[in-house]
């Protein structure tokens, strides 16, 4: 762990702690800004997107919790996060789309949600160990 903690600290050498946590603050602000825009715009979900949006949201949540875990373990890399976020959402939507074409759409979307839910649980457990050391 000591090797991996050193480089990010060197990245923001002037304010090691402040630079590190400002990223979290920015992320939270971005999340809230997106939520506020969604609330204000209140767009209606197009029909073709309706089956995929909940799956995509769960996949993105999984990426987000993974990123938080990596951040707390000082292994966060924004490039990895971007790739995993987009990849997660696309793969989840693709699986559900394939399931729809094969006639097992509801079963496969359940499977995707279960798998992503397990991953979210695992990531949250790791975060909990990291934060509370328990």
């Amino acid at each position: 762990m000591t090797e991996s903690t050193a480089p990010p600290a060197a990245d923001s050498a002037a304010h090691p702690a402040a630079g590190r946590w400002s990223a979290i603050v920015f992320a939270v602000v971005a999340l809230l800004a997106g939520a506020v825009i969604g609330l204000l715009a209140s767009p209606s979900v197009p029909d073709w997107l309706a089956p995929y949006l909940p799956i995509a949201v769960v996949a993105a949540l999984d990426a987000l919790f993974g990123a938080l875990r990596a951040f707390l373990q000082r292994m966060f890399d924004s490039r990895v996060f971007v790739v995993s976020f987009i990849g997660n959402v696309l793969v989840a939507a693709l699986i559900v789309f394939l399931g729809d074409q094969l006639g097992v759409g509801s079963q496969l979307s359940t499977a995707v949600v279960v798998v992503l839910g397990i991953r979210i649980f695992a990531n949250v457990a790791a975060i909990r160990r990291q934060v509370f050391h328990a």
Partner: protein, 253 residues
């Protein structure tokens, strides 16, 4: 956790490499670009999350369902509709039964009331009106005996009289004719002359029963009294008997 963690999939070494590259110009720039993209993605997640929340809360999630789910829901709804229709039929049948029961019990009550008023007339506790005859027996010699009055009542009953009044006394099943020709009494009350008898029934039949040979009219004339038989379309009998509650007999069955 043995599984890969997104955001750190490449492990510590890759993250460290990326951080080392930040000391140079272009990788650092690329890194800030990916950070901006990451924030945009997080904002997108918030946006999508809220949008999905709203569309779920709006309850129009039927649009989001697949066709086989919709078919299943439709099947369920049809089944429920069938169940409810069956329940409606059962309840309607129950309602019809209850209504019919109510009507028939009302009819039974009306029938019982009718029977009760008929019994009141027969027992003499209610006034009665209808066609019938009046007898007026002039008996200045006081020759008419109680037995003769009893015979007259029985003749009238045989001829179908339904209500009889002699003088001011209503004749009932337990009427008593006592005394002798000089002091006639019915149910303990003296009978004044001329004796007036009113009977409700078929007038012609009653009148014919009075005038048969050896009948009432003959008997009255034999003892030297006079009798007038008058038929009428409407006779009203207003004298009443006091109903007597049975002491020993009780309704049975």
């Amino acid at each position: 956790m043995s599984g890969p963690q997104d955001g750190a999939r490449d492990g510590p070494s890759t993250a460290g490499t990326a951080a080392v590259h930040t000391s140079h110009g272009t990788p650092r720039r690329r890194r800030s670009v990916t950070a901006v993209v990451a924030f945009i993605l997080v904002a997108l997640l918030g946006f999508g999350f809220v949008t999905q929340l709203r569309s779920t809360a709006a309850g129009d999630n039927l649009e989001a369902l697949r066709s086989d789910d919709l078919v299943q829901i439709l099947d369920g709804l049809q089944q429920r509709e069938d169940d409810l229709n069956a329940e409606i039929r059962t309840q309607e049948a129950t309602l019809q039964g209850l209504l019919a029961g109510g009507a028939s019990s009302g009819e039974a009550l009306a029938e019982a009331r009718k029977q009760a008023s008929e019994l009141e007339i027969i027992n003499g506790v209610a006034p009665a009106a209808g066609p019938g005859i009046t007898l007026r027996i002039g008996d200045p010699a006081r020759a008419v005996s109680p037995e003769f009055l009893l015979d007259t009542v029985q003749e009238l009953r045989n001829a179908g009289a339904e209500a009889i009044q002699i003088g001011a006394v209503r004749i009932g099943v337990d009427s008593a004719f006592v005394g002798d020709a000089a002091s006639l009494q019915i149910d303990g009350k003296p009978v004044s002359r001329p004796i007036s008898v009113k009977a409700i029934g078929e007038p012609a039949t009653l009148a014919a029963a009075m005038s048969i040979p050896g009948g009432v009219v003959d008997s009255v004339r034999r003892v030297g009294a006079t009798i007038d038989v008058g038929q009428s379309r409407s006779i009203s009998i207003t004298a009443l008997r006091t109903p007597r509650a049975p002491i020993y007999a009780r309704p049975a069955g």
